[in-house]
Amino acid sequence: MADKTLPKTDVVIIGGGWTGLTTAYELAHEGRKCVILERGDHRHDATSFGAPEEHDELKYGLRYTHMMNVRENTLTFRNSRGDRALPMRRLGSFLPGEGLGGAGIHWNGQLWRPLPSDLEMRSHYDNRYGSDFIPDDLSVQDWGVTYDELEPHLDFFERICGAAGTAGNLDGEQREGGNIFEGPRSNEYPNPAMKQPVSSTLFGRAAQEMDLHPFPFPSANVTKAYENPYGAQLHPCTYCGFCERFGCGYFAKADPIICVYDRIKEHENFEIRFKSTVLRVEKSEDGKTATGVTYVDADGREIFQPADIVCMNAYALWNVHLMLVSGLGTPYDPETRTGTVGRNYSYQTISAVDAFLEKDIVTNPFMGAGALGMVVDDYNGDNFDHSDLGFVGGGYIACKQYHGRPISYQPVPDGTPSWGAEWKRAVRENYLHHADFVIHGSSMSTPENFLDLDPTWTDQHGRPLLRMTFNFPENDRKMAKYVTERAVEIAENMDHVTSVSATNLAAEGEDYSVVPYQTTHNVGGAVIGTDPSTSVVNRYGQMWDHHNVFVFGACLFPQNLGYNPTGPLMGLAYWTLEHLKNDYLENPRPLMDA
């Protein structure tokens, strides 16, 4: 029983990151009173992320000061159902946020659109390769929403961010210099592409010679003074090299605080409460709707906040956790393969290629930005013929220059000892002469990769921890091997290269590990779709079982595409908000028949 019950609000929003603040912005302007509950603190680019203090690799890059603190609350992890899950005692593989702006303040700003075929993955492969092409052990499915439906929303979010890039497909017309594989855009990028350092320039040249199609990273690191549609002012990027894991005190990386929060914080329909952790979503007696949420406030009191609409805008993993501890939807059971909450958790399949360069090539790696580099998309999605390959999916290959922060950026050639005199020499000889590739691959969902509640460990509120069961599917291991080999070919074709090495985290025999950083792209677990037996929400992001609960974020992805998730998940958010505003608010009901 809560210590206190507050007056009802129209909308309660769980989480103050990209999707939560955007939901509040859009619904407050529709005349609805919105309350955001954010478990972390207030913070702001101007006062919290200023240089030089922000340029502290140890504090922010390695002690994770902007991220979630796992001292009291984490998840448990195992590779398979046969293992005992153990707590992830430190952050490592992924870095969820906490505090105003969520993980949106420490992202790199790589702003992608999904391929049209990504959103209709099962039907696309069935049509092109036959209905038995997708391996049986994958639970790949269509999103239930198409690229054409999302396009206006993907476009709008690019304008919110002041995205920098080169269009590769404008209204169906392919354009050299952009990503010719992308779906048709209704508009150019709002800002020109970033400048390129020597490393990515050499990569682009080599890829071009190989008849691939290099283009600059689509970037939310802004390249010109820019005002977004909400009236936010963004400044040009300084290429400071403190992007991912850091906030941007230059107002040059689009983030939810400057792009959205500052433009809504004084609105009469907007309220945000910090240090407010939602414990559970409460249901009506018949279970068909939610009545509001119970949260712990800054003083440790349990408060019930009634609301007409509950919006779940926490990080992907914590949305799923909250559904499980609240009894929303039906938990997934891997034995019977029934239930949906926790089903189809997937991740990202990452490998790396290092190209070491002659000494007269000086890369200055510390002149970096989160979305700086050149990319080829020829081996992503279904942009290449899969007929004889034995796998589905793919990944982009990027030569990136994010940063040269010296604890984390220590490239050394294969065969170098991992410490001692030879290591020391190799670090200093290669620091300024290295090109850094990432292969950013898709991750297919399977019946054996899922999220549920842990039977042993609890958080500080006594709730069971979320339990993650995950390993790389065989399909993704084949994909990563294939695309990594293509990346090595590009590296070997680059001018001035002296040696090339590759690290494939999904190589045969390698278990997925929560220790090395890979990417904060945990997806699925509460997926979108058109069939209530295989999705938690309908194609509008509305829960099948509780029609006044709307769900946002990457937990909606039925499997992960080969791109970074912020663009696709914000496209979905605006799509959901369009239907909330134009349909649901006037006539609250299930928007699709189950």
Binding site: A51, R71, F77, R89, Q196, N364, F366, R428, V514
Partner: protein, 232 residues
């Protein structure tokens, strides 16, 4: 008190009262020279210096301890990191697979103390060993092959190596990377960073010397004056 405390003297072995003659003077640096260690005992400090300097030995550039890494680790162990900030320490504790990460029931400061103590038990006189022998011990430790009782020697090695590397390259405000030793070695110019007009000048070495977060103009002869930052 017979003489003022000196970290430098401790690391040089000058204050060592054990029967062994003075260690060779390779661990000369201690930025906080007149302050007692915050966490380490003098014996631990000498062992740690020897261990760090095996990982990052002196060549044309300073060794780890010469760059202040012992000061760095001492402060880290005494502060929030050593006391478990960012570490979930609720039991029960079980041995896991490598993919499940750290599972020992020890805070970093406990792991450091326990590890140094067991290292001395396993290889007595570690701090004064000949380089080749010490290299062999550290190699065995890194491979989990050194007998440290129920403490896996690779877990202790991983922690010390992580901290040594961090201390050599972190901003000098944390006590290591003295006089930008690590940054000068690789060519990292530090915390101040406006490269908009430089990033596409290819193959041109960046001319400025390093500056840290707390850099003071005039604090180091060849360094440029730090630009005054205007608040946005």
């Amino acid at each position: 008190m017979t003489h003022p405390f000196s970290r430098r003297a401790v690391l040089l072995g000058l204050a060592a009262t054990s029967g062994v003659a003075l260690a060779k003077p390779q661990h000369a640096f201690a930025a906080l020279d007149d302050q007692p260690f915050a966490f380490l005992t003098e014996t631990e400090a000498r062992m740690l210096a020897a261990l760090c300097d095996t990982l990052i030995p002196e060549d044309e550039y300073p060794s780890a301890s010469q760059a202040g890494v012992v000061d760095f680790i001492d402060l880290q162990m005494a502060g929030p990191y050593g006391n478990g900030e960012g570490l979930y320490m609720k039991g029960p504790f079980f041995e896991g697979k490598p993919s499940q990460g750290y599972q020992l029931p020890l805070l970093p400061s406990e792991l450091m103390r326990e590890g140094l103590s067991r290292l001395e038990q396993a290889e007595s006189g570690f701090a004064l060993m000949e380089d080749a022998r010490r290299n062999d011990v550290v190699t065995a430790m890194s491979e989990g092959e050194l007998d440290m009782g129920d403490l896996p020697s690779d877990a202790f090695f991983d922690e010390v190596w992580k901290l040594t590397n961090q201390g050599f390259f972190a901003d000098p405000i944390y006590g290591g990377n003295e006089n930008y030793a690590g940054w000068r070695m690789v060519g990292f110019p530090g915390a101040h960073a406006y490269y908009q007009s430089f990033v596409d000048k290819h193959n041109v070495a960046y001319p400025k010397a390093p500056m840290g977060i707390n850099h003071q103009p005039g604090g180091d002869g060849d360094l440029p004056v730090a630009p005054v930052r205007k608040e946005p």
